[in-house]
Symmetry: C2
Subunit: 150 residues, 2 copies
């Protein structure tokens, strides 16, 4: 069993982020949430991950405030997982990883991040502080991994 | 032993990136390379990671073209690890993870990314394509995790 924490790396935001979202499958679950997935069965169908692993990862994301667990049915009692404001701010890191993978590993770029208002392509980049940047709610992710709500 | 690949996630740049840099410790090694570390002993001292794990991660990073392995001494024969252009482009993802960790987990932000030319603070952000952005060589990372070359 791997430890989640990186001992001795307490003062680094990178290490702290990885302690929360660095476990296997976790960032792909968050990615799917940006595609609109919310329910256990949706994540399971999209990822094909073992149910006990998915349960563990979702619980941890709720504990860390990345997802909120919201009841959508009383009988039977059922819950769904929604990105919080903190979770939505992971879209910069996800976009950066996507761009790097698209550029250096994939032959194609099937998923696209775009500005909601006009559909203009959006990228993750380094910019001087003060540059006009897009907020989480101003962008949307479109592509093959979007799944329809059942 | 965890698999490195995410079966069924072939068309996603996020999954492809994580197959390369998603293993435990790998992104912290890359982070340290941005702080100027190049040698096995430097990474080992900074991270405190087991030597066999560090060897495995460095070899994989070389295989994937993130690091170049460069001989710096003939007798005894010794090598160091330098970020390639592909590796340096990971700085957007690293900056995004750092900012998220700093904002949501840490109380303080000990490491700072800044523009090399004038020291202006640099952030990772989502911007419309076409926005003037900073290239890898135009930014530098300063902070507590910078180690002196021995």
């Amino acid at each position: 069993m791997l430890n989640r924490d990186y001992e001795g790396q307490d003062l680094c935001g990178v290490a702290k982020s990885l302690e929360i979202i660095g476990e296997r499958w976790t960032l792909l679950i968050v990615r799917d949430a940006f595609f609109g997935l919310r329910r256990f069965e949706e994540f399971q169908a999209s990822l094909g991950v073992a149910r006990n692993v998915l349960t563990d990862r979702l619980n941890r994301l709720v504990d860390e405030g990345v997802f909120a667990r919201v009841r959508y049915s009383e009988r039977p009692e059922r819950f769904e997982y929604r990105l919080t404001a903190k979770g939505r701010e992971l879209n910069v890191a996800l976009a950066a990883l996507r761009e790097w993978g698209d550029r250096h590993v994939l032959e194609q770029a099937p998923n696209v991040l775009r500005r909601r208002s006009d559909g203009k392509a959006v990228i993750a980049a380094l910019v001087p502080k003060g540059t006009k940047v897009l907020k989480a709610h101003e962008v949307e992710l479109v592509g093959r991994r979007r799944a329809a709500r059942p």
